[in-house]
């Protein structure tokens, strides 16, 4: 009996040792390497810095000066197509077409890109001057105000058709990704005479484009309107007969608008009646941040 009692005690002790040992092993095994699931924090860079996409998009290859908005809701592309004068491209995700502008020929149509994810982009083609967005029909000499530009008019037509209000619209130039600023300067004239403005571009501002637009509402035979910089004639609109609503556009060289020198940009006419003339200077440039 004594022997059996001792044997039982030994067995109990052995079981106890094994249990304690197992617990020790288990707890140690879980101590050696601790792995917990972490959280992922997403830091989206400032919107302006988003310019390093590697693959060129359709717009990269197609567009120049652009106005865009994301309406933050899906777009029915079949509705968007109804706005176009001409449907230029159509995929499952987006459509591209030209939008006719009131009172202007098809040469002045703005192009429009509509993506089903809510993006609407109105633009002029790359190579076309920024000054093309100025619609002289919307220029009011009496208030000295350009009420809208052509990109705005085109975007408005699209959003009106889609039944949405565009808020937070932004400009972008696909050919000048480093340009962060655009400037449109207008000087108007009524009747004969000359009007001018001064412009000075600091030499530490890198200008990507200097384009212009010269407008004449009416000129009769023998009368002219001139666009001059520093007294040098850049463009002449001649009244060869009765000439109505002429707009000529072009670009300037660095030498014509040399930095750090004040330049006088003028528009003149020798026709005495009270018609409107105007000159617009458009700049795309990198303003130091």
């Amino acid at each position: 009996m004594k022997f059996e009692n001792s044997k039982m005690k030994i067995n109990m002790l052995a079981i106890l040792i094994i249990i304690v040992g197992s617990l020790g092993l288990y707890s140690y095994a879980n101590r050696g390497t601790t792995t917990q699931s972490g959280e992922t924090y997403l830091f989206i860079k400032p919107a302006f810095a988003q310019s390093m996409s590697t693959a060129p998009t359709f717009l990269d290859e197609e567009a120049g000066i652009s106005l865009y908005v994301n309406i933050n809701r899906p777009i029915d592309l079949t509705v968007a197509k109804t706005v176009y004068r001409t449907l230029e491209k159509e995929t499952l995700n987006y459509t591209v077409g030209s939008i006719a502008l009131p009172g202007l020929s098809s040469n002045e149509d703005v192009h429009c890109f509509v993506h089903k994810d809510g993006w609407i982009v109105t633009y002029y083609l790359k190579g076309e001057p920024i000054s093309k967005i100025v619609d002289w029909n919307l220029w009011s000499q009496s208030t000295s105000k350009l009420n809208k530009n052509k990109l705005q008019v085109g975007l408005e037509q699209m959003t009106n058709s889609l039944g949405v209000v565009a808020t937070g619209v932004k400009y972008y130039h696909f050919q000048y990704p480093n340009s962060n600023k655009c400037m449109i300067i207008i000087k108007g004239l009524v009747g004969s005479g000359e009007n001018s403005f001064n412009v000075t571009i600091p030499d530490d501002i890198e200008v990507d484009e200097r384009s212009w637009s010269h407008y004449s509402e009416y000129l009769y035979y023998g009368y002219n309107s001139y666009f001059k910089i520093d007294g040098n004639t850049i463009n002449t609109i001649a009244g060869s007969g009765s000439v109505w609503n002429v707009t000529i556009r072009g670009t300037l060289s660095v030498a014509q608008l040399f930095p750090s020198v004040p330049h006088v940009v003028g528009v003149s006419s020798n026709y005495g009646a009270s018609y409107q003339y105007g000159v617009c200077l458009a700049l795309a440039y990198q303003e130091p941040l």
Partner: protein
Amino acid sequence: MNKISPTCLCLISLLVGAVAGVMFLSSEARAQGDGIVVDGADDISMIANEYSTELANATREVTSRVVAEYGDFSSNLELNKSSELDKGASAVSSRVAVEYADFASACELQSFEALPQAAADVTSRIIVEYADFIFSPSLGPKPMEDGTPPTIGTPVQEPSSDVAPYQNVTVSVNITDAESGVKNATLHYSLNNTEAWTTVAMSYNSTSHLYYATIPEQSEGTGVKYKIVAYDNAENMAVKENDGQAYTVIPEFPSFLILPLFMMATLLAVIVYRRKHSE
């Protein structure tokens, strides 16, 4: 003859008297030396101009004075320079003197410390004058650009557990970016829960499509925590943050082996002892 004689005598005496008078006066003038000749004066007072020692001594004690005569009012101001005046004068800086102006306005143009800094912060601007209309919108950002950061999977470390002292740990992770693609990934680790992070660039293996980094060997008991940071080509950043992904370097001869060995030895000793006693 008798009538002529008195007349002649009078004329002669007058003539002689006149000549004598002239000679007397000229001799008197010469007697005054080479001094000032005064004619027709009512009175002439001659003062000897001789130098005297007493006079010299007396004049030494007399300081120069402005002598005012016939003035209706005279006010004498002490013009002696004083030390207070010196101080006052030194405190007075030069001024522009303005006279007869209808209006003068002086503005303080002195700089202050913050001005140079403020001036440095002013960036260049295109200057436009006399324009009828100026419209100057900002350009950008680019529409439809990648605004989504990369996706970082769950890191896997090797060895997954029981990191021994002076043993490297390799961490691999799957990182993807469907839009602009992954630009780079880095592993950041810190020791013993400090905020001093060491950065290791992760390398991409095109076969496994995983990013790899090695945490160098550490001594026994060192706690190592790490996190992974990835950028895409649009500079969007994602962080697999963890206080979580961590390990501790264990002793080379782990204590969990000592304990069971000790237990087994004790058990063995007890069994042997009991068997001996039962026999």
